[in-house]
Amino acid sequence: MRARRRWLGVAACVLALHGAGAAPSDDADNQALLQDQDYVAGLAAREAGDAGAALRRFDAALRRFPDSADLHNELGFAHRKLRQMDKAFEHYKRALTIDPRHRGAHEYIGEAYLMVGDVASAEKHLAALRSICVLPCEELTDLAKAISEHRAQAKAR
């Protein structure tokens, strides 16, 4: 649901900010990514629940945007959905190397760690989000909730 909301928001803001003029160099490519056909198609495939198609399109976009934290985060998500956990971790870690404050990557790698039963690592990313999100942020709330639910389920078992 959250992903859907984000996607609609992105579409609206691309229109609003297109041609926004000079931005610091690191953002020029971030904004170019939003107009990349493969990236946009990958997001649409992800929203439609087709992780395989999303992965193919994100992989195609990677040739043009090898240093995009957002793209690596999406690749991590697609691999995670396909249960390719090693590749998922590889991309999440790359996203966090490029941008150590990437909130989405912290949340999703934390959730990926829960999927493989590594609660301690998920907690580390929750701690990272606590220091990044000085004001409340949904990535922090969602990961905290996921960890809490994971613990409850483990206890029930």
Binding site: G9, A22, P24, D26, D27, D99
Partner: protein
């Protein structure tokens, strides 16, 4: 290698132009500095060719492109002119945005034309190939990759022609263009500056060298190194609009307010005359910022009134940013919270421009005692922040995050939660320290660390406040409110000697103030009683 260097020197010496046609002024067409770009074009186009290169060095892109195209019309065999056209169409290489797709198309057409003409020398072919490296596979590469290719190609060019000083200068520019916002060691800037400093000794009147040195030192810890270039550049190329404004980037960094006012006044006048509203607004914002630091509030008011009658292109950020920033600065720098709380929203297409008004309204409201209004503004700020996050405008999203956090801190303080207030305000200041100021602005509406100092004063912690005021001035020196706040804090902390020094410094800074600021009255009273 040695043989190669000799061969290059001979080849350069044999060209028709060489240093003999280096010029400063072309009669009746203004002063753009001394440039000598060796080339094999016809003698009749030499003056205009050098002039076009000088325009390129001062980022006078529209006039420069016309000049290069005119050279090509007059001498259709002058293939190297296509290098100039393609270089201009990359736009400001330090702004990060790069060429537009339409610009890239026009540049490729120029480069293709250069290929068809066939440059007469290998060196000219190498210049054209170096600029072509930027445009290669344009649609399929991100800007950072293009920037890297460009820097690499021009560094290779400079290495191949070590006696070609223009190659060294362009290589330095494009290396500086790879500077990342995240790198606070400023490695690329300093690498470029090392080359440019040597060139500056050799060519003190070259427009590009002085200009690129200013850009290469446009960061707080290294800004003072840029002062010699800043003081010279406007004099080297006084007819290039960008040359009149650029020195103020350094003047602002070091707090040389009189210099900033003078050069921006000239820049704004030239820009207005050229109907370049965006550049005029940009210069005016820098000018008002400087005037307010000197307590010249009436002067600042006059500039604000003057610009109420100027219009700027709403589709580029410089105009809308300055239009929103100038009235906000007028209110916040003078602690006029009531006016700040009522600032009208400009309703631009840029969420970060609207956010600075929202931030100012929120700060004005909460510090004026209207917490409910501040909370409403804080919600608006959150919406503007989200718009920037969703659009992947991470730089400005971070700037607005800093504003949100600071506002939340002051709201917490108003709700009687001092620990939470300080936690938030410190987080805002720390985050701001990690995010470099954008070139569109002379400074944030209020530096977050200065605001932290003000909050600590509200909480009766003057010693801690003094520390924060002093830290704030390391990055943004000579600010009126920082010095006044530090003086007050020093006195309250019991350091009367320091308070005296700071009050004396404040009075010296604002010796030509045209308005009765309460801080100045306090300083006079304090010093008289000491």
């Amino acid at each position: 290698m040695r043989i190669h260097r000799v061969a290059v020197a001979v080849a350069l010496a044999s060209m028709s132009i060489n240093a003999s046609l280096a010029h400063e002024v072309e009669e009746g067409k203004g002063t753009l500095g001394k440039v000598s770009f060796a080339n094999s074009c016809d003698a009749k186009v030499q003056a205009e060719f050098q002039r076009a290169v000088a325009m390129l060095h001062s980022f006078w892109f529209s006039a420069g492109e016309k000049a290069f195209r005119h050279v090509l019309e007059d001498d259709p065999a002058c293939a190297i002119a296509t290098f100039g056209i393609a270089a201009i169409l990359m736009n400001n290489p330090l702004a990060g945005q790069g060429s537009s797709p339409k610009g890239a198309e026009a540049a490729q057409a120029a480069l293709d034309q250069g290929q068809r003409i066939g440059a007469k020398t290998q060196r000219e072919r190498d210049y054209i190939a170096a600029v072509a490296a930027y445009y290669a596979d344009f649609a399929n590469r991100p800007e950072r990759a293009r920037q890297a290719s460009r820097a690499q190609a021009f560094e290779a060019l400079a290495a191949r022609y070590p006696d070609d000083d223009e190659a060294q200068i362009f290589a330095a520019l494009y290396v500086a263009g790879t500077q990342s916002q995240a790198d606070q060691t400023y490695a690329a800037y300093l690498k470029a500056a090392a080359t440019l400093e040597k060139m500056f000794v050799k060519y003190p009147d070259h427009p590009g060298i002085a200009h690129y040195l200013i850009h290469s030192y446009d960061a707080p810890p290294i800004a003072d190194k840029g002062l010699p270039a800043a003081r010279r550049y406007a004099g080297i190329a006084p007819d290039a609009p960008h040359a009149l404004h650029m020195p103020s980037h350094i003047f602002t960094r070091v707090g040389a307010w009189q210099d900033s006012i003078a050069t921006n006044r000239r820049s704004a006048d030239v820009a207005k005359k050229d109907n370049d509203g965006a550049s005029a607004f940009h210069a005016a914002d820098y000018m008002i910022y400087a005037q307010l630091q000197l307590g010249r509030d009436q002067d600042a008011r006059r500039v604000l009134d003057e610009f109420a009658r100027v219009s700027a292109d709403p589709t580029t950020q410089a105009g809308p940013y300055a239009a929103a920033a100038m009235p906000a600065r007028m209110a916040l720098e003078r602690g006029d919270w009531a006016t700040a709380a009522q600032l009208p929203q400009q309703g631009s297409r840029f969420p970060f421009c609207d956010a600075l008004t929202t931030f100012s309204r929120a700060l004005g409201a909460v510090r004026g005692g209207n917490v409910a209004a501040a909370e409403t503004e804080a919600q608006t700020l959150a919406v503007q922040h989200k718009a920037l996050v969703d659009a992947k405008n991470n730089y400005w999203a971070t700037e607005v995050e800093i504003q949100r956090t600071a506002v939340a801190g002051w709201i917490a303080l108003a709700h009687g939660q001092p620990d939470e207030a300080l936690r938030l305000m410190r987080a805002a200041a720390d985050l701001e320290d990690r995010n470099e100021k954008h070139i569109v602005t002379p400074g944030r509406m209020v530096p977050a660390r200065e605001l932290l100092g003000e909050m600590l004063m509200e909480l009766k912690q003057p010693a801690a406040a003094l520390v924060e005021y002093e830290r704030s001035q390391l990055r943004e020196p000579n600010r009126f409110r920082s010095i006044a706040g530090a003086a007050l804090a020093a006195d309250a902390a019991g350091d009367r000697a320091k308070a005296k020094r700071l009050y004396a410094r404040l009075l010296e800074l604002a010796r030509d103030a045209d308005s009765p600021r309460p801080e100045l009255a306090r300083a006079k009273t304090y010093l008289a009683a000491s």
